[in-house]
Amino acid sequence: MNIAPYLLLATLEGLVQASVLMLTALGLSLVFGVMRVVNVAHGEFFMLGAVGAWICATLIPGPPAVAFVAALVLAPLFVGAIAWAADWAILKRIDYNPEATIVATIGLMYIIQQTTLWSFGPNAQAVDAPFYYTLRFPWFGYSTYKFFIIGAAVVLVGGLLYFLRHSKVGLVMRATQFDRETAQNFGISVGRVYSIVFAVGAMLAAIGGVLVVPAQQAHYLMGHDPLLLSFVVVIVGGLGSIPGTIAAAILIGMSDGLLSVFFSPTLAKIFSTLLVALVLVFKPEGLFGKAGR
Amino acid sequence: MAEVKLLRTQGLARHFDGIKAVDGVDFTLHQGEIRAIIGPNGAGKSTFVGLLSGRIKPSAGRVEFAGRDVTGLPAHKRVRMGLAYTFQITNIYKEMTVLENVAIAAQNRLRPNMLRRNPGGEAEIERLASEAARSVGLGEMLGETAGTLAYGHQRLVEVAMGLAQSPRLLILDEPTQGLSDGEIANFNAVVRKVSETATVLLIEHNMDVVMALADRITVLDQGRVLAEGTPAEITASAAVQAAYLGEPA
C-alpha cells in the first residue's frame, strides 16, 4: 500500500484544521492575554458563527458566494454584539474575577447552546461553499474551498498582527496587557479596552465558524471541540502569547489531523486533555506563567 | 554569662537581578535578648528577615536556628521550630473573628500533626488563643471580625498571633508603623512581657521604640552590617550618624 496519498490528505486536512484553530485560539488567547480571564463560552461563539453562516445562506437569495460574503461580515458582527453585551451585563459586574468569570461563562455556554437548540433545532445543517472547484491530485480530488480557508486564515491573522502592532487600538491593548494600572494612569479606559477585546476575541471565533461551515456543517453542539483544542493551543503556546499561540495552533492542528486519520478521535482527545493538564501541572511558569496563578 | 546562640547567619546574601539586597551578612542573636535592626529605607532589613523566616531563598550563605542548619528548610517548618514571624503589612484573616485568627496560630503549637488527636482539643486551643489575645489587650474584642477593627488593633492581632505560637524567636517587622503614641506605649509593654519567655527581633523605624526596648542594635546599610552594639554605643557611633541617624527618619 502506498502511504503517500494518505499522508498528503492528512497534511491538507491538518492545515485546514490548523487554520481555523489558529483564528479561534487567537481569540481565546487575546482575551486571556489582555483581560486575564478564561472564556469557557468561546466555543459557543464559534458555533454561533457557523449557525450565522447557515442563517445567511438560508435567507439571502442568489449565488452561495453572496451569502457567504454576507455571513463573513454579519455573523462576526452579530457574535461580537452578543459578546459585548455579555461583557457589559456579566463580566464587568464581577470585575473580571478570574474564578467567577469561569463559572459565569459556563452558564453563558449553556444558555447559548440551549437557545440555539430551540431556535435552530437539533439537526446538523449543511451550507453550500461559495465556489466549487476541485483540485485533482493523482489519487483524490480536493476542494479548493479548503485552500481558501487556509488562505483566508493566513490573511486574517496577518491583518490581526499588523493591527495589534501598528494601530492605536492595538497599542492600547498591549499597554493594558502589560500593566493595567499604568495604562489607567495614562488615561486609557481599561473598561473600554476590555469590552473591545472580549468582542474581538469572540468575532475571531465566529469567523472560524463561518469559514468552517461549508466544509463541516453547523450544529448546536459543534463548539465543544474548538473550545477544547483552543485550550490546548493557548496553554501549550503560552497563555496570552500571540506568536506562541500561532505556532501551537499549527502544531496541534496538524498533529490532531494526522492523529485522527490514524487513531480514534476519542483517543486523540484523551491525549490532548491530558497534555493540557500535565503542562499546567508541571510547566506552569512558562505557560500559564505570568498570570501569577 | 554563657550566652546561648539562638540564631546565626553566615555570609547570608540575596541578589535580585544584580541588586544586592542583602550582601554577606554575619549575624548572631542570643537567647533572651531584644534585638533591633535599624537602617535607612532600602537597607535590606525586610529582605534579611525574609531570609531568616524562609519566605525568601538566599543566593548564598546559611542560616542556623537553635543549633540546626535551616537554610534549606521551608518557611512553615521553621515556624514549627519556634521561629514566629509577624508581617510588616498586616496579614491576618480579615473575614474571621479575632479569636479564630489567634486560634489558628495557637493550634500550630498543639497539633504539630493535623491528623493526630490532641488531648486538649478545641477547648485548649481556645483557652490559649484568648489568653494571647488578652495579653495584647484584645480581650474585649474576641468576637469581632478582624477586618473591621481599627488599624492599630489589627496590628495587635498580628502580635497576638505571634504570641499564641509561644515562639522561641518572635520576629516583628515594623510592628509600630501607623500606631498612635498611646498604642505604642501599650505595644512596648507587650514586647517586654513577651521577652520574658522569647527572644525578640525587631525591625523598626521608630527610634523611640528601639531605644526603649532594644538590648542591642544592629544597623544595616546597603545590605551589610554597618555597626552593632548597645543603644548607647550606636548613638555614639560616627558611622551610624552619617549613614542613618543624621537623616530625618
Binding site: I270, V276, V281 | A75, F87, I104
Partner: protein, 319 residues
C-alpha cells in the same frame, strides 16, 4: 467529645429527625425523589469540603463521583461482588483517585486549578467512552437482578424497594453529615478555612498548606465517590453520563445555591435544584438553560448562597 458549635449540632440533629420522619408521610414517588436528593446531597457535601471550606473550585468532581460508580458497579457486574463490599470498593476507588489526582492538581492554583481539574475529568470521561466494550459507554451497564438485593446481619435488603433505598440513603447521609460536622467544626476544618481565607498567612503560622489541601481534596473526592457508588448500586446502573462535565457542574451549582462553606447548604441546594429541575423536566432540556442562568445569577448577586447569606446577615454559627 465536646460539641463545639452546639447550635449547629442541634440543627443537624433536627434535620436528621425530620428526614427520617419523611418516609412516613411522603408518597412513594416523593420517596424516590427524596432518595435521589439525599445521595446527590452527599455528593455536593463532598464537593463543598473543597470548594466551600477550602476555597478550591474544582470543575472535575464528576471524575470522583464516577470513580465510585465504576469501581463499585464494575466489580458487581463482572465479578458478582456483594453490594456492601462493592460499596466499600467504590469508596476505596474514589479515595485512590482523589489522592493521586490531588497530588498533581494541587501544584496549581485558582484558574489553572479549575482548568486542570476540568481536563483530568474530561480525560476520565473520554476514557469511559473509549473503553465502552467494558464500561458500556453511553449506553451503560445495567446491574443484574442478583445484584439488586443483599443480605446484611441476616436481613435481606431489596434494592427495588423504595423504603429500603430511602433508609439506606438516609443512613449514609446521616453518617456523612455527622462525620463532616466533626471535621469542619474542629481544628481541621479551621485549617481548611484558614487556607481559603489566607493561604500565605497559614503557611507562615507553621502549617504545610499543601498537605492541608491534600487532606481536603481527598476527603472531598472520597465523599463524592461514596455518593457515586451508592447511586450506581442503588439504581442498578453504571454509565458514562455520570462522568460527564455536567455532573461536575451540578455539584458546583447545588453547593453555590445552598451556600458554599456551610454544612447544610449542599442539602438545601440539592433539594431546591432537584425540585426545580423535576418541575422543568417536561420541557426537555430546558433545565440546562436554568442551570446556565442560575450560574450567572448566583455569581452576580448571590455568591454566598442561601445559607451563606443567612449566616452573614443573622446567624454566624451557621457554618
Amino acid at each position: 467529645m465536646v460539641l463545639h458549635n452546639k447550635k449547629l449540632a442541634a440543627l443537624c440533629l433536627a434535620v436528621l429527625v425530620l428526614l427520617f420522619a419523611l418516609q412516613f408521610v411522603l408518597s412513594s414517588y416523593m420517596i424516590l425523589a427524596a432518595t435521589r436528593i439525599l445521595i446527590l446531597a452527599v455528593f455536593a457535601m463532598g464537593y463543598n469540603m473543597l470548594m466551600g471550606y477550602t476555597g478550591l473550585l474544582s470543575l472535575g468532581h464528576a471524575m470522583f463521583f464516577a470513580a465510585g460508580v465504576y469501581a463499585s458497579g464494575m466489580v458487581t457486574y463482572y465479578f458478582g461482588v456483594s453490594l456492601p463490599l462493592a460499596f466499600l470498593i467504590g469508596i476505596l476507588g474514589a479515595f485512590a483517585a482523589s489522592l493521586i489526582i490531588g497530588l498533581l492538581v494541587l501544584r496549581t492554583q485558582t484558574v489553572s486549578f479549575m482548568i486542570v481539574t476540568l481536563m483530568f475529568a474530561q480525560a476520565a470521561y473520554l476514557t469511559t467512552l473509549y473503553f465502552s466494550r467494558y464500561t458500556g459507554g453511553d449506553q451503560g451497564l445495567t446491574l443484574p437482578t442478583s445484584a439488586r438485593s443483599f443480605r446484611l446481619f441476616g436481613q435481606i435488603l431489596d434494592m427495588t424497594s423504595d423504603l429500603t433505598r430511602y433508609n439506606i440513603a438516609f443512613a449514609v447521609f446521616a453518617v456523612t453529615l455527622i462525620g463532616l460536622y466533626l471535621i469542619t467544626q474542629g481544628p481541621i476544618g479551621r485549617l481548611f478555612v484558614a487556607v481559603r481565607e489566607n493561604e500565605d498567612r497559614t503557611r507562615m503560622l507553621g502549617f504545610d498548606t499543601y498537605r492541608i489541601k491534600l487532606v481536603a481534596f481527598t476527603v472531598s473526592g472520597t465523599v463524592s465517590g461514596m455518593a457515586g457508588a451508592l447511586y450506581g448500586l442503588m439504581f442498578g446502573f453504571v454509565g458514562s453520563s455520570f462522568a460527564a462535565f455536567q455532573t461536575s457542574i451540578e455539584a458546583l451549582l447545588y453547593t453555590l445555591i445552598g451556600g458554599p462553606g456551610t454544612l447544610l447548604g449542599p442539602l438545601l441546594g440539592t433539594t431546591v435544584m432537584t425540585m426545580l429541575i423535576d418541575r422543568l423536566s417536561g420541557l426537555t432540556t430546558a433545565y440546562l438553560v436554568v442551570i446556565g442562568v442560575l450560574l450567572i445569577v448566583v455569581t452576580l448577586w448571590f455568591p454566598a448562597g442561601i445559607l451563606g447569606t443567612i449566616r452573614n446577615r443573622w446567624l454566624p454559627w451557621l457554618k
